[in-house]
């Protein structure tokens, strides 16, 4: 594969650089020699068939794979030029810079307010007024504030699934990360809520670096600026979404996006 060069991103600034990155689960070689640059204020989608390593790749960017036993890596992932796999990197610091939204919305059995406030509390924010401010700002950013401003004390589990996912996004942005990783964020949602979350991501792109893993090619085409196609742990093709979907360079990419490779 030809490495996608930074000048191909126009005026967008580089945020994440992946260099010769390999990841092993025990003996299983899950990610193979990944090289890529991910830019700011854009949405980068990662697509590929199940088991191609796209979620593993996403979870490498906030080191969530560390929680799996037997994981080892080689190569580097740089965030703003700093290698996040250096031994002295504090993963809690990294994860406050690189937020994550999971496949299924996971709200804690706490109130709406506490669900959002728990994230800034982790960073040591205890001042009530400041927390109130953060909760309002975060809920407003995901379009839930007007609906929930009088229901902050209600259990978050009483919200609809779509709203729970928005709440998870509010929680992720409450600590002002720079990167947000979305791991198939709409796979548990109906089409209406899926579109709402996509609109939300499109708005967030102004302020964040967004990487989304999706098995839904239409979603990747709708929502992303750049697309990576992965297969068997390798990055096969990477480029502007429009060109990946209209004139793929690699025959395997073409096979996948035309539905002949599952």
């Amino acid at each position: 594969m030809e490495t996608y060069r930074s000048q191909d991103f126009g005026d967008k600034a580089e945020k994440i650089r992946v260099e010769k990155f390999n990841l092993y689960y025990g003996n299983f070689h899950a990610l193979k020699d990944i090289d890529a640059v991910i830019v700011e204020n854009a949405i980068t989608a990662v697509i590929g068939p199940s088991g191609c390593g796209k979620s593993t790749f996403l979870r490498s960017i906030n080191r969530m794979n560390d929680t799996v036993e037997g994981v080892s890596t080689t190569g580097r992932i740089l965030l703003d030029g700093e290698d996040i796999y250096r031994p002295d990197v504090d993963v809690t610091w990294l994860r406050s810079k690189v937020g994550m939204v999971f496949q299924r919305p996971v709200v804690f059995p706490l109130s709406v307010f506490d669900n959002v406030a728990c994230a800034p509390r982790l960073q040591g924010t205890t001042d009530r007024a400041e927390l109130v401010d953060i909760v309002e700002r975060s809920l407003d950013a995901v379009g839930l504030w007007d609906q929930l401003k009088h229901k902050l004390k209600e259990p978050a589990l009483s919200l609809s699934l779509g709203d729970q996912q928005k709440l998870c996004i509010a929680r992720a942005i409450s600590v002002e990360p720079e990167v947000i990783l979305f791991d198939e964020p709409c796979s548990a949602l109906d089409p209406v809520n899926t579109l709402k979350i996509e609109e939300l991501m499109w708005g967030l792109r102004e302020h964040y670096t967004i990487v989304i893993v999706t098995h839904n090619m239409q979603q990747a085409a709708r929502v992303s600026d750049y697309t990576m196609f992965m297969l068997d742990g390798r990055l096969i093709e990477y480029g502007p979404t429009s060109s990946i979907f209209t004139k793929p360079q690699d025959p395997r990419t073409e096979k996948y996006i035309t539905g002949k490779l599952v």
Partner: protein
């Protein structure tokens, strides 16, 4: 044809076996109440429960000192066993690797198999002299009983609260970690609050175990029938009272011991009902 007959016969036999096991509970209940209730009629329930004097030779049967004793010893055991047990469960579930968690769980289960007389013997030869030498008093005391019981309730406390912690969805932990939480923050802010009903159930079951334990307590408690004024005073619990005097009792004395059994029966049944409600309340959420 003969298969289905075998099947029916097996079912019938097993149903009978099950019935026998359950009917023993019924028989014990009926028997204890039948033998004990006359004592209440004789001296009045209130008098029996609040009476300060237990002196069978003078026909004085007040179990108040034993009630207080049971309460103090149980509370002391919980004060020791709960933090130890919960701490152990949290370590096993959240911090240690799966291999050492399995090893610890195995050891805790082994601990449940140690006969209570062995716990009592260790208490008698180690804890009682230690208290006598360094803290004063006879050594046989509320404190000695609480320490011995505190360790005896550990298996219950550890395994029930460990199960409650493991039942907390892994997604909660992943989401907290992804927000930049440390493991300890995750435990404190999400895992423990989510598991609280199961932990409460563990504490209640452990309480039941502490109240019911007899042998080990008799060996280290001193068994005086006075209301203890400090944790260094000797104490007699409700179960000890029955075990110590059953052998030579007769008449009203015997009935009073069965009546003590009724009081215990009611306390332990209530605790079990509360524990079950706590577990149900937790899983309903």
């Amino acid at each position: 044809m003969s298969h289905s007959r075998d099947e029916r016969r097996a079912e019938l036999v097993l149903a009978l076996v099950a019935l026998v096991s359950v009917s023993v509970l019924g028989l014990i209940t009926v028997f204890v109440f039948k033998e004990g209730l006359p004592a209440f009629r004789e001296m009045g329930l209130w008098q029996f429960i609040t009476g300060h004097r237990w002196s069978p030779s003078q026909n004085a049967f007040g179990i108040f000192p034993m009630l207080v004793g049971t309460f103090m010893v149980t509370l002391g055991a919980l004060a020791i066993g709960m933090p130890l047990g919960l701490g152990c469960a949290v370590y096993m579930s959240e911090f240690s690797g799966p291999r050492s968690a399995a090893l610890l769980k195995h050891m805790v289960e082994l601990m449940a198999g140690i006969p209570s007389v062995v716990f009592g013997f260790v208490g008698l030869t180690v804890i009682v002299p230690f208290i006598r030498t360094y803290l004063g008093g006879p050594g046989f005391s509320v404190l000695a009983s609480s320490i011995v019981l505190g360790f005896m309730i550990l298996p219950t406390m550890v395994s029930v609260s460990y199960d409650a912690l493991r039942a907390v969805p892994q997604a909660y932990r992943d989401n907290m970690l992804a927000l930049g939480a440390t493991t300890w923050q995750t435990v404190r802010m999400v895992v423990l609050p989510s598991a609280k009903s199961g932990i409460l159930a563990a504490a209640i079951l452990a309480t039941g175990r502490a109240i019911g334990e007899t042998m080990a307590v008799i060996m280290v408690a001193g068994n005086a029938t006075a209301v203890p004024e400090s944790v260094l005073d000797p104490v007699r619990t409700l179960t000890s009272n029955i075990a110590l005097e059953m052998g030579y009792s007769a008449g009203l004395h015997r009935q009073a011991l069965f009546a003590t059994g009724i009081v215990l029966f009611v306390i332990v049944t209530l605790l079990n009902l509360i524990a079950r409600a706590a577990i149900r309340g937790g899983s309903a959420k």
